[in-house]
C-alpha cells in the first residue's frame, strides 16, 4: 500500500472515529450517512480515479449522452486516460455511440470489467450486459437504486485521469443517489438546449446540485444557434432570403448560467454529423476534429480543466 494511501486511510479512520464519538453523544442521521459513505466499497473503487465529472440535464432530449461521449473523447484526445459510466439505465445509449455494439464485458468475483473502445476509452453501461437492445429495463425504485450503487461499487475502472458519468435525466432519485454516493465528485456539467422551457430545467438542476454541496462546473448549450451543412461544413443559410438557419435560438443557457452564477462553458451548433457519427459509433470530436463543434468541445474541456483547478481542495498536493 502506498504511503499516500495509508495517510488517506488513517485520516478517514480518524474522521470516522470522531463522528462515532459524536454519535455516542447524540447521533444524527447526517453523521451516520457520512460514515457509511466513508466506509462504502464505492470509496475504494474510485480511489484510482483522479477526476469524476457528472453530466446532467434537467430533462431528456437535450443531447446529454452525445455531449458526455464527446467530452470523454475530447479528454482522451488531450492525452488523458478516460472512462465513461452510462448511468442512464432506462436509456443506455453510450455503448452504441462509442462503437461497442454486441461486445460483452467480463464478470468475475462480483466485479464487472468495463469494455474499451478502439480509442482506449473505458465504458460501462447496463446496455453492455442486458440481453438485446430491444429488451426494456423494467427495474423499479429500490431495485434500480441498488443496481446503480452496484455499478459504483463493483465496476473495476483501474487507474483513470477522468471518469465522465452520464446521469439519468431529471432531478429525481437516481441522479441524486449517484451525485451523493460518488466520493470526491469534482462537479457537475449541465447540458441544455437554448429554449426558454429548457432553461427552467437548467435552473432546477443547478439548484439541486448546489443544494447537494457539489460544484456546478458549468453549463453547455447544445443544438445552439446556427446549423452546419453536413456536406460542406459551412453554416446553413436559407436559399431564399440568405439568413442563417437557427432551430432553437441561442444564448439562453448562458443567461441561465449567469443567473446560477456558474460558468458558461460553451455552445455546440446543430451539426447533423454529430448524430450520424453517434449512430456509427465514433465520437464526433474524433471523426471530425477540424469541425466547429469539435473545436468547441475541446475548448469546453480546457475550460473544465480550469474550473477543476479552481475547485481543487487546498490540501491537495501538499
Amino acid at each position: 500500500m502506498s504511503s499516500e494511501k495509508k495517510v488517506k486511510e488513517k485520516k478517514a479512520e480518524e474522521v470516522i472515529q470522531k463522528i462515532l464519538d459524536l454519535r455516542d453523544k447524540g447521533e444524527t442521521r447526517e453523521e451516520l450517512k457520512y460514515v457509511s459513505k466513508l466506509r462504502s466499497p464505492i470509496v475504494s473503487r474510485f480511489e484510482k480515479i483522479k477526476h469524476k465529472i457528472a453530466v446532467m440535464s434537467g430533462k431528456g432530449g437535450v443531447g446529454k449522452s452525445t455531449v458526455a461521449t464527446n467530452l470523454v473523447a475530447a479528454f482522451k484526445a488531450e492525452g488523458y486516460n478516460c472512462g465513461i459510466l452510462d448511468a442512464d439505465v432506462h436509456g443506455p445509449n453510450v455503448p452504441k455511440m462509442m462503437g461497442l455494439h454486441e461486445k460483452y464485458p467480463d464478470f468475475k468475483g462480483r466485479t464487472f470489467y468495463p469494455l474499451e473502445t478502439e480509442e482506449g476509452i473505458k465504458v460501462w453501461s447496463v446496455a453492455l450486459y442486458w440481453p438485446s437492445d430491444s429488451t426494456p429495463v423494467m427495474w423499479r425504485g429500490p431495485y434500480k437504486t441498488r443496481v446503480i450503487k452496484q455499478f459504483l461499487a463493483a465496476v473495476d475502472w483501474g487507474e483513470l485521469d477522468y471518469l465522465i458519468i452520464d446521469l439519468p435525466p431529471g432531478t429525481g432519485d437516481e441522479p441524486q443517489t449517484i451525485i451523493e454516493k460518488i466520493p470526491e465528485l469534482d462537479g457537475v456539467v449541465i447540458v441544455a438546449t437554448p429554449q426558454e422551457v429548457a432553461l427552467l430545467d437548467v435552473r432546477k438542476s443547478g439548484e439541486m446540485v448546489k443544494e447537494m454541496s457539489v460544484p456546478v462546473l458549468g453549463v453547455i448549450e447544445n443544438m445552439s444557434a446556427h446549423a452546419i451543412c453536413p456536406n460542406c461544413g459551412e453554416i446553413l443559410k436559407c436559399a431564399n432570403c440568405g439568413n442563417q438557419v437557427e432551430f432553437f435560438g441561442e444564448g439562453g443557457a448562458e443567461l441561465a448560467s449567469e443567473e446560477l452564477e456558474v460558468p458558461f462553458l460553451g455552445s455546440i451548433p446543430v451539426d447533423p454529423r454529430i448524430r450520424t457519427s453517434g449512430d456509427e459509433g465514433t465520437p464526433f470530436v474524433l471523426k471530425y476534429p477540424d469541425s466547429e463543434a469539435a473545436k468547441n468541445f475541446r475548448e469546453i474541456v480546457r475550460k473544465i480543466e480550469k474550473e477543476l483547478e479552481k475547485h481543487k481542495p487546498s490540501s491537495e498536493g501538499e
Binding site: 457509511s36 460483452y104 467480463d106 464478470f107 468475475k108 468475483g109 462480483r110 453492455l128 450486459y129 442486458w130 440481453p131 438485446s132 430491444s134 429488451t135 423499479r140 425504485g141 429500490p142 431495485y143 437504486t145 441498488r146 443496481v147 450503487k149 452496484q150 461499487a153
Partner: protein, 107 residues
C-alpha cells in the same frame, strides 16, 4: 437443452428461497440480519459467473438474469435499503421475483 433445464431450476430455486426469506420481513418473523444471512447462502455469484455469457447475450434468459441480479443487489444493499426506505420497499422486490419466476415457469 439440459443446460437450460438446470439453469431454469437454479434460477427458480434462487427466486423461491429469496422470496421466502424476504417474506419474513413483511410478516415480522425474521430480523433483517437473519434474512440477509439466508440471502447470502444463495450462490448467485457462481451462477452468474458460470452462465454470464449466456445470460447476457440471449434475451431468452432475461428473467434468469433479472432474478440473479435482484438477489445479488439485495445481498449488497438489503440493510441499507431497509434503513433508508423501510420494509415496504421489499414488496416491489417480491413482486419482481414472482413475476420473473412465473415467466420462467411458463416457458
Amino acid at each position: 437443452m439440459g443446460d437450460d433445464v438446470s439453469l431454469n431450476e437454479a434460477a427458480l430455486e434462487v427466486a423461491e428461497k429469496a422470496s421466502r426469506a424476504l417474506e419474513k420481513l413483511i410478516f415480522s418473523t425474521g430480523t433483517p440480519e437473519e434474512v440477509l444471512e439466508e440471502l447470502m447462502k444463495l450462490n448467485v455469484t457462481t451462477l452468474l459467473e458460470e452462465n454470464w455469457k449466456k445470460l447476457t447475450s440471449d434475451p431468452k434468459y432475461y428473467y434468469h438474469l433479472d432474478i440473479l441480479q435482484t438477489v445479488m443487489t439485495l445481498q449488497d444493499e438489503l440493510l441499507n435499503q431497509l434503513g433508508e426506505m423501510g420494509v415496504d420497499s421489499i414488496k416491489a422486490d417480491l413482486e419482481n421475483l414472482d413475476f420473473s419466476r412465473e415467466k420462467i415457469a411458463n416457458k
